[in-house]
Amino acid sequence: MRPGDLLFRAVTALAAFAAVALVVGIAYEVVRQAAPAIAHFGLAFIWNTTWNPITRDFGAGAFIVGTLVSSFFAILLAAPLAIAIALFLTELAPRWLRGPVATLVELLAAIPSVVLGLWGILVLGPFLAGTIEPWLSKWLGWLPLFSGSPSQAGMLNAILILTIMIVPIVSSITRELFLRVPRELREGSLALGTTRWEAIRGVVIPYCGPGIAAAIILGVGRAVGEAIAVTQVIGGGTTLHRSLFAPADTLASKIASSYQGASTKLEGESVLYLAAILLVIALLTNIAAQVVVRRAEKRGVL
C-alpha cells in the first residue's frame, strides 16, 4: 500500500477511535464522580421522590418522572404535527410553496434553545396562565392532569417548548422518507382506485413506518436532553404533582440549575448521579433508534 493511503487510513481510524474513546471517557468520568453518591444512596435513589438539601435526602424520582412526562407529552403533540407538516410539504402543497415552507420549518430548529426559553418566559408563560390554562381548567378540570390553578411556569409550558423543538427534527426526517417512497407504489395504489388520502394512509405511511418511528425516537432523545430552555420555563418544583400546570423539574433542567451552586459535597455528587441516570436514558434512546433503523434496513424498506 502506498504511504499516502496508509496515512489516510491511520488518520481516519484515529478519528473514529477518538469518538469512541470520548463517549466511553465521558460516561466513565460522570459515573466516577457520582460514585460517592451511588455508594451512599444505592439504587433507591432512582425512586426516591424527595430532594431536600437541608436534610441531605436526595432522590431522582421526581425528576425521572418529570423527564418522562415532559418527553411523552411533547412527542404526543409533536409527532402528529410533524407528520402532518411532512405530508403537506410532499403531497398536498402546491409546488411553488414547498421550498419556502420547508425552509421556514427547518429554521425553527435553528432557534437557539436559550432564546426559545426566553420566549417561553416572556410570551408563552403569560399566554398560558391567562388564556390556555383557564380554558383547560374550565372544560377539562375534572381530569387530574388539568386540575389546580393556572401558572406561568410549569410542566405545560415546558411541554410546549419541547414540542416546538422536536417538530422540525421529526418533520424534516419524515419529509425525506416520504420523498423516497417509490413512485410505482404510489401510482399502483392510485391505479387500483384508492383516493389520495387512502393512498397516503395505506401505502405511504406504512411504508415509512420504521423510519418515522426512528425519527420519533430521535425527537424524544432531543427532548430528554434539553436543559436550558426547560429550566427557564418549568418553575423548579421539587415535589411531584398530578397537574400539568404545577411547577416541576426534569433531570437535565435540575442538573443545569443545581450543579454550580451545590452547597454540600453530597449535593454535588447527587447531581452527578442525576447526570449518570440521564446519560443512561439518552444512550438507551439512541440505541433504540439505531435498532429500529437497522431492522428496517434489513427488511429492505430503508
Partner: protein, 352 residues
C-alpha cells in the same frame, strides 16, 4: 463588461480597506485605557448576587484608587463558596455563613462580614393604596401553603380597609442555591416553629408550594409578571425592578420597612462577634424598635494563604472602609463598629 466588473471589485476592495482602517482606529483608541489598566493587578471573585450591586459600584473606583482590576461574577453564594474552595477565583462572596464542612473543604479560609443589607418581601397586587403589612407568622403560613388568598382573614386583620382582593397568592422562591434563601429561611425558622421543624434553614429548601425563579432577577421577574405573587429578594433588586415591598412586623411590634433606618437598627444589635464571624440578625430583640427583621450580613471569603495576599488585604480593607460609602444609595448600611473591628482583625490572617 469585464472592465465594469473589475471596477466593481476595485470599489469593493477600497470600501473594505476604508472600513477596516476605521474599525482598527476605533479599537486602538478603545485599547489605550485598557493597556493602562493592564498594569493593574487583576483580582477575580465570584459568589453572592446579593452584594453584586455594591461590588459593581466598587469596580470602577478600585482602578484609580488602588490599581486593582476587579472582576466579579454573581453566580450565587453556593457557587462562590465552591469556586473559592477550588481556588479558581481569588475571593468568594456568600450571604450564608460557611458550615464547618465547608470550612474544612476550603482548607484554610476565613469569612469576613463586609456588607449589610435587608431582604425585602416584594409582592404584586395592583390597586392597593398603602404598603402591605405582614408578620413573620403570616409569611411562614403563606410559604407553607396555609394562607392561599390575599383576602385571607389573617391578612385582612393586619391591613384593615386596604381592600385586599380575592386573588390567589403565589409564593416565589429561589430555585438555585442562594444566600438570600438562607437569610429568608433563617428568619422563618426563628418566627415559626413549624417551619423550623418541617423545612429548616438552608441555601435551598424543599419548598412546599410556589414557583421557583433562578437568581434574584429570576424571582423579581416572576413576581412582576404574576399577579398575586409574593417573594423575597434583596432590597437592591426590588428597588431596581420597582417592586412594591411589604412592611414586616418586628419583635417590638412595629411594622418596619427594608430601608437604611430599619437595617441599621438591626445591625446595631451586634455587640460581640463570635470567632468564626458568623452573625445572625434576623428577628432582632425588641430593644431596637425600628429594626427590620430580615437583614443579613454578607461575607467575603478569603484563603489564609495566597500569593495575592497583599492586594486582597488592600482591597478588602478599602471595601470595609471607603467602600461602605457607596452603599447607602443602594440601601446597604455601613457595617457597625464591632463588626468592622472583627473583620479587620480577621483580615490580618490573610498572608502570602
Amino acid at each position: 463588461m469585464l472592465t465594469k466588473l473589475v471596477n466593481h471589485w476595485k470599489l469593493g476592495a477600497l470600501a473594505i480597506l476604508a472600513t477596516s482602517v476605521v474599525v482598527a482606529g476605533a479599537f486602538a483608541s478603545a485599547a489605550s485605557p485598557a493597556s493602562q489598566r493592564a498594569a493593574d493587578t487583576k483580582i477575580t471573585g465570584a459568589g453572592s448576587s446579593f452584594v453584586f450591586p455594591l461590588v459593581s459600584q466598587w469596580i470602577p473606583a478600585l482602578g484609580p484608587a488602588l490599581g486593582i482590576d476587579l472582576t466579579y461574577a454573581a453566580v450565587g453564594s453556593g457557587a462562590g463558596i465552591a469556586q473559592i474552595t477550588a481556588r479558581t477565583v481569588d475571593f468568594g462572596a456568600s450571604d450564608a455563613p460557611m458550615s464547618p464542612d465547608q470550612f474544612s473543604a476550603c482548607k484554610g479560609c476565613v469569612q469576613i462580614p463586609w456588607a449589610l443589607a435587608a431582604t425585602s418581601i416584594p409582592y404584586n397586587v395592583p390597586g392597593l393604596k398603602k404598603r402591605v403589612r405582614l408578620t413573620g407568622a403570616v409569611i411562614a403560613s403563606i410559604y407553607l401553603g396555609k394562607i392561599t388568598q390575599w383576602n385571607d382573614k389573617a391578612l385582612q386583620k393586619l391591613n384593615p380597609g386596604a381592600g385586599l382582593p380575592a386573588t390567589k397568592i403565589t409564593p416565589v422562591y429561589r430555585s438555585d442555591n442562594s444566600g438570600t434563601s438562607y437569610n429568608f429561611t433563617d428568619y422563618l425558622a426563628s418566627v415559626s416553629p413549624e417551619w423550623k421543624s418541617k423545612i429548616g434553614v438552608g441555601v435551598n429548601a424543599s419548598w412546599p408550594t410556589g414557583i421557583g425563579g433562578k437568581g434574584s432577577s429570576g424571582v423579581a421577574g416572576v413576581i412582576s409578571r404574576t399577579e398575586g405573587a409574593i417573594g423575597y429578594v434583596d432590597i437592591a433588586y426590588a428597588l431596581s425592578n420597582k417592586l412594591q415591598v411589604a412592611s414586616v412586623q418586628n419583635k417590638a411590634g412595629a411594622f418596619a420597612d427594608p430601608g437604611l433606618r430599619g437595617t441599621a437598627a438591626a445591625g446595631a444589635t451586634v455587640t460581640k462577634v463570635p470567632s468564626n464571624n458568623e452573625l445572625h440578625i434576623v428577628n432582632p430583640p425588641a430593644s431596637q424598635k425600628l429594626a427590620y427583621p430580615i437583614c443579613t450580613f454578607t461575607y467575603v471569603i478569603l484563603p489564609t494563604k495566597t500569593a495575592k495576599a497583599a492586594e486582597l488585604r488592600k482591597f478588602v480593607f478599602w471595601a470595609l472602609t471607603k467602600g461602605q460609602t457607596y452603599g447607602p444609595k443602594l440601601l446597604f448600611v455601613p457595617i457597625p463598629l464591632p463588626v468592622l473591628a472583627a473583620s479587620e482583625k480577621t483580615l490580618l490572617q490573610v498572608k502570602s
